[in-house]
């Protein structure tokens, strides 16, 4: 199994980050179907290259399967499908961002498949604008804010809600395997 791990060491130990940037925030940005999204870097555990996963029967379509993360069983979710976008062939830049999600029943580790990682953004709280009510591919409840950078706009995602297991699977009985409508 070939696994590529991007080292996040240049960012420094995660505990130190918060202190260094004082009130500043750091976001990891990634691309998905031509749009840029950002997630709080403190939620990110690691970034891995795409490797085949084990399919889970009767799971919603956006769950690609489960992978072995050093002995732990971690579900892998395709963000394109989660957002109801069309899928593409996985390429060399396709990566899995492993995030720690805080849920009602404790912390869970979840992998999210994205088209590719882009950058790390240093932001001040003042840079973040409120999310718009419409006009995005992503359901607005998952967007915690918007940031304008030189290259365009970055949508900041609320990972805890987006990848909340309760949210993703609780309603699954009602609408099996259906990606969230755009």
């Amino acid at each position: 199994m070939e696994t590529k791990t991007t080292d996040l060491a240049p960012l420094g130990p995660r505990g130190a980050l918060k202190r260094e940037t004082a009130e500043g925030l750091q976001y990891l940005t990634f691309s998905l179907a031509g749009e840029e999204y950002g997630i709080d870097i403190l939620k990110v555990q690691e970034i891995r290259g795409w490797a085949p996963v084990t399919k889970v029967p009767n799971a919603p379509a956006f769950v690609r399967g489960v992978m072995n993360l050093r002995g732990a069983i971690v579900p892998v979710i395709d963000l394109r499908l989660r957002f109801g976008l069309e899928t593409i062939e996985y390429t060399k830049t396709t990566v899995v961002i492993v995030v720690m999600v805080q849920g009602a029943t404790g912390n869970r580790v979840i992998g999210a498949v994205v088209d590719g990682v882009s950058d790390v953004l240093n932001l001040q709280a003042a840079d973040i604008q409120p999310a718009p009510d419409f006009g995005t591919a992503v359901h607005t409840e998952f967007i915690s804010g918007l940031v304008t950078i030189e290259a365009g706009m970055v949508m900041l995602l609320d990972v805890d809600r987006l990848l909340s297991v309760e949210e993703m699977f609780a309603l699954e009985a009602v609408r099996p395997s259906e990606p969230v409508a755009a």
Partner: protein
């Protein structure tokens, strides 16, 4: 003394908690009214005594004082000066709880609920005072009449001359005096006559002697009791106090006066009638306390689970032996590897086989260290049955079998609560009140059985009662009301009984303190399933209900058979596989509404096409081209249709739920030899869904 006693504190706590368990078990075995089993009381007394001694030594004064009161009460029972009443036993049981809380608080250095301690202690003293009074009102033995006057003297003069080495054995006169001071008014006079010059003084020796005067209605035994630990280390004289009390004869006259002073609220006038009221009052109070006690008990359990397990030395020795063998194999292998050529390939294979065997044995034995007898769970039930039975006014006998059956520690921890629930249900709903039982022609005393046994790689625990059984009609109605069942269809008993595991269904007419809120049985089932077990119900109206829980021996590792379905690989626990067969054309019948059935060894065997259930792509769909794996769970068989068998492998079970959620038909996941994730099939779950579908 240079010894740091801190290191023994942990041992003290462990032993004390064990002592409490012994006391509890002993108290429950005491049958009020009947002839008192002296040995039983002695056992309880000894346990209390050790706790008292230990807590004094370690400076837990409150504990020591509290235990002392209990001990006094027990002592009187032992000497037959006090009858063993239900009331007394209940109070003592409560004291055991209270003591347990105090010890937990002492261990965790958290504050004790002083009110509760005081309350229980008061009740103990009430008992003491009431029963010390003239015999007749509670039917004390005649012996008590003869004994009590001698016990009620004005006081005692004690000459206490310890030998120099007294303190070497960990005894401290100060502590003993404190104990005496609890009994009555104490004056101590030290005799410094033996005190050497400072230069000659050995700091660890005891040079002092004392003359003590203890005033109060104290029995000689109680005084001697304080010195019980220093017997042989001192000269001790105890004699009745003369002096201002004119003569021994006069003390008897004086006694009632002194005895009457301590209890301001005298319980005597009401006689037996009031006793009954007191009993009721206590039940009321208990209700409120139950919850609190539950919390505290939980905290004891929680603290325990983190700490340690006791392992028999034989188990450890076995592991050490195996490690020795492993080392031998390792050196054999490294010798082989040093100058290896193909001619020694056979030897290498041999050594690898040995390594394989060693690893398996070692694993098995290390697992065994985690195995605990199920009695550690069962032991709490006699008390629970006693308490709840009393509260519900039912007569109940609890029969426990097979408590030595061993189970993995994790499983043991997880099944406690479900079992509590099941037994409560049996107590509350299952067993009828005595009058109803008599009307039904059954013995007045209801029987709850708790069995544990080992069968074919699983542990079974059965909770049975000889009560009224499940109410099929009521369940059916509920099921129809809630839309869980469809009207006009035939349902098997099993399907209907299964409804009690459904959240929100309770057929109890009244919600009681004990159970009936309709939450619970679903949680019970979930907890059992969490540890990889399953639960089944059998019930006969008027005869009783039997709930059988089957549990895996161990959680961590199982032997698995790898099977392929399309591109996916699944694992079937080897233990549940009966055999694998190829299907020939014409052997399979399609039965409308029941799917495909294979006539297999004269029995109809339902076929489950796994690729259909799991939505696998590229799987073999022609029954003749694949394989049928016949599996069994919960006493039922099905054939799982798969593409092919792969290898067999020992797999360690990983949780799928930790980061994901429960998946129907899948018991867990594991990491395969090539690093990929493999899913382990949940056979009993598959069989259940198959049954639900047809």
């Amino acid at each position: 003394m240079a010894i740091d006693i801190g290191q023994f504190v942990q041992t003290f706590f462990e032993e004390s908690f064990e002592g409490l368990d012994i006391m509890e078990a002993g108290l429950l075995a005491l049958s009020p009214g009947a002839t008192v089993d002296l040995e039983q009381i002695n056992t309880i007394f000894r346990a209390a005594h050790s706790i008292k001694g230990g807590s004094g030594t370690f400076g837990f004064r409150e504990v020591a004082e509290f235990t002392h009161v209990m001990e006094t009460l027990l002592d009187r029972m032992r000497e037959g000066r006090m009858p063993v009443t239900r009331d007394a036993v209940n109070t003592l049981l409560e004291s055991v709880d209270c003591l347990r809380e105090m010890l937990v608080a002492a261990r965790e250095k958290s504050p004790v609920d002083a009110n509760r301690v005081e309350e229980v202690r008061e009740r103990l003293s009430e008992l003491l005072d009431a029963k010390e009074a003239p015999p007749g009102d509670t039917g004390g033995k005649p012996a008590s009449a003869a004994k009590s006057p001698s016990a009620q003297v004005a006081g005692w003069r004690i000459r206490f001359r310890p030998y120099p080495q007294l303190m070497h054995s960990g005894n401290d006169p100060v502590r003993m005096f404190r104990e005496l001071a609890d009994l009555g008014e104490l004056t101590a006079r030290a005799d410094l006559g033996r005190l050497p010059r400072l230069a000659e003084l050995q700091p660890e020796d005891c040079y002092l002697a004392w003359e003590l005067e203890l005033r109060g209605a104290v029995s000689r035994d109680a005084v001697a009791e304080a010195f019980a630990w220093v017997e042989g280390d001192c000269e001790l004289e105890i004699e009745p106090l003369a002096g201002d009390a004119p003569a021994p004869a006069a003390t008897a006259v004086k006694a009632p006066e002194t005895a009457a002073v301590p209890p301001p609220a005298d319980p005597k006038p009401g006689g037996p009638r009031e006793e009954g009221q007191q009993g009721e009052l206590m039940l009321e109070r208990r209700k409120g306390e139950d919850r609190r006690r539950g919390d505290r008990r939980a905290s004891v359990a929680a603290a325990d689970s983190g700490s340690s397990i006791r392992v028999g030395i034989d188990k450890v020795d076995a592991v050490i032996n195996l490690v020795g063998e492993l080392v031998t194999t390792q050196s054999m292998l490294s010798a082989l590897g040093e100058d290896f050529d193909m001619s020694r390939l056979d030897k290498l294979h041999e050594a690898l086989d040995q390594l394989d065997r060693n690893t398996r044995d070692l694993q098995e034995h290390v697992m065994r260290i985690r195995m605990l007898p199920v009695s550690s769970v069962f032991s709490r039930f006699p008390r629970m049955v006693h308490d709840i039975g009393g509260k519900l006014g039912k007569q109940i006998e609890l029969r426990i079998n097979g408590e030595q059956t061993e189970l993995d520690k994790t499983v043991i921890e997880k099944i406690g609560d479900p079992l509590v629930h099941l037994i409560r249900n049996s107590l509350d709903h299952g067993l009828e009140p005595p009058d109803e039982r008599i009307r039904a022609g059954k013995p007045e005393t209801g029987v709850i059985t708790l069995d544990a046994y080992h069968k074919s790689g699983s542990i079974f625990i059965e909770v049975g009662d000889d009560g009224r059984g499940l109410n099929r009609e009521a369940l059916l109605r509920k099921g129809l009301d809630n839309g869980l069942l469809r009207a006009g269809e035939e349902y098997s008993d099993e399907q209907i009984y299964d409804l009690i595991f459904h959240p929100g269904l309770s057929t109890a007419k009244q919600i009681s303190d004990v159970s009936g809120r309709g939450v619970g049985m679903d949680v019970v089932r979930r907890n059992i399933q969490d540890v990889g077990g399953s639960i089944q119900i059998a019930s006969r109206p008027g005869k009783g209900t039997r709930i059988t829980i089957s549990l895996p021996l161990t959680l961590a590792i199982l032997d698995g058979q790898l099977v392929s379905i399309g591109q996916d690989c699944y694992i079937i626990p080897l233990l549940s596989i009966i055999e694998s067969v190829q299907i020939r054309a014409g052997e399979v019948n399609r039965i409308p509404g029941r799917g495909e059935i294979l006539r297999f060894r004269g029995q109809p065997l339902p076929i489950l096409r796994l690729y259909e259930m799991f939505g696998a792509e590229g799987a073999v769909t022609d029954l003749e081209k694949g394989l049928l794996v016949v599996v069994e769970a919960d006493g039922r068989q099905v054939g799982l249709f798969v593409d092919d068998l792969q290898g067999q492998q020992q797999v360690s079970i990983k949780s799928l739920e930790k980061n994901f959620r429960r998946v129907a038909g899948v018991a867990g996941a594991t990491i395969l030899g090539d690093g990929r994730v493999g899913l382990i099939l949940d056979i009993s779950g598959l069989i259940r869904t198959n049954n639900a579908a047809i």
